[in-house]
Point group: C2
């Protein structure tokens, strides 16, 4: 079996070099000893971002378009993927279309556009999750899936033959109607969020469920909404009440909870139908 | 000349009764002594909102559909208009379509849907602006415009024959693609915001300018972006750099600054072509 080469880029905020060393060592312990290569761009810094827009786009294309890499693993969220997503999609070659892409949070801008372009993408842990309490389990889960398609780390509600997708709800709201929006007709749509006020969660759920294309999903599952910021006054509904309210208003089925979120338990959701 | 009757409702957060008394007195000093009637719903409280969704919708329709009222003045922003906007639009009668609607911030959800429905709407000060430093000038400006179409309070860059519209940029982002989105083709689009991080302003500007319908505007003018929350790390671009960046990326003309914002200087922007 050929060694799997996993390339890491940081399309949003920068990574720490020591963290990269630890992730490389973890990969070395796996069957087949997959190799994780962190593109030097991961460690650049330019204002808010891991290098300027040109540097981040170039690094993404370096890995995506190189047939030696089995997969492109997004190193970290933060903010910045939307600044390069639309312009890099037309530059993807055949090797890019045969690759697997993994990430979540801000990386949803890229996952959306890549899925729309026919690539194999999944919502799941990233190298920077190592910094969370218990985060090694998340990184192990992602590495095992990238290495051997290990199904143990998949989100447990996924059903064979039923297409799925997962997003940070604020990110999905911010790409609706753009060239990045994928066709989610008939999909189970899993949503999670972090560090928002409940009134913002409510407003975002209005936007999602009032959008005709989203009204075509099979149903919505709610992942974890963590680190909720204080609402003044108290919102009087929790995040699940809010999602149920908007599902009822819009006629979208509410299917229950999903095991995803900004935490170490974040499970993997391959987009589309499980292969 | 018949006395103009101005009805106030609160589709989002509640108003203070003493504030209502002060605004009524200010109206009494004007030529023709217009009368400002605060719907009792303005003073209700239900969690985050000035009464539950049903109460806020009913109050809005009470004023909008009553031919005795010349105009409907939105009392305050906050959050909540999107929860009632889509459902009340089909219930508007002929009197509602002949009325003038004034407000801004969260009220943008209503202004958008009302403009799309053919109503006369304007972005401008609300009664609650009386609580801002120097806010009496803002309330006077709004009352003078509602009372006699006084043009002194209009946003100074408005040009006869050139359609315009103004929005809180986060609110506009959250209604794109929904049944509330008006046709802004050929309009000068003025944008303002408050209490956001610069990375959020950047992300919102991505969404707006990556949306095909917004790419059809005549150009964008930037109002004030106030109370910017600390960005970690420093964003390295200010709000005007950000708006210029996205205008360049998307091919939308950047037309300069607009005299609107969450402050006492907020000028009035009637939607569409000035009559």
């Amino acid at each position: 079996m050929a060694i799997k080469l996993i390339g890491v880029v940081a399309p949003a905020s920068p990574l720490d070099a020591k963290l990269a060393d630890r992730v490389r060592l973890m990969a070395g312990d796996l069957d087949g000893t997959p190799e994780v290569l962190f593109h030097p761009q991961c460690f650049l810094s330019s204002g808010h971002f891991a290098g300027d827009d040109e540097a981040r786009e170039r690094a993404f294309l370096d890995i995506a378009n190189d047939p030696h890499f089995h997969s492109l693993w997004i190193g970290r969220g933060g903010y910045g993927s939307c600044r390069i997503a639309e312009r890099l999609l037309p530059k993807l070659n055949k090797a890019a279309r045969q690759k697997t892409y993994l990430g979540y949070s801000d990386a949803g801008f890229l996952l959306a556009g890549l899925y729309r372009s026919g690539c194999r993408v999944a919502h799941g842990p990233m190298p920077a999750d190592l910094l969370r309490p218990g985060g090694a389990a998340a990184v192990d889960r992602a590495l095992a899936w990238l290495n051997t398609d290990d199904t143990a780390g998949l989100e447990p509600s996924l059903e064979p033959g039923v297409p799925a997708a997962a997003f940070n709800m604020t990110v999905l709201s911010n790409l609706l109607g753009t060239a990045l929006e994928p066709d989610l007709e008939g999909h189970v749509l899993m949503l999670e969020d972090v560090s928002e006020h409940l009134y913002r969660i409510d407003r975002t759920m209005f936007h999602l469920t009032a959008t005709p294309s989203i009204r075509g999903v099979k149903g919505i599952r709610l992942g974890r909404v963590s680190d909720i910021l204080p609402n003044e006054p108290d919102f009087s509904q929790n995040e699940e009440d809010i999602v149920k309210h908007w599902c009822t208003e819009s006629g979208i089925a509410y299917l229950g909870r999903a095991d995803i979120g900004h935490d170490a338990d974040n499970k993997i959701v391959p987009f589309g139908v499980r292969q």
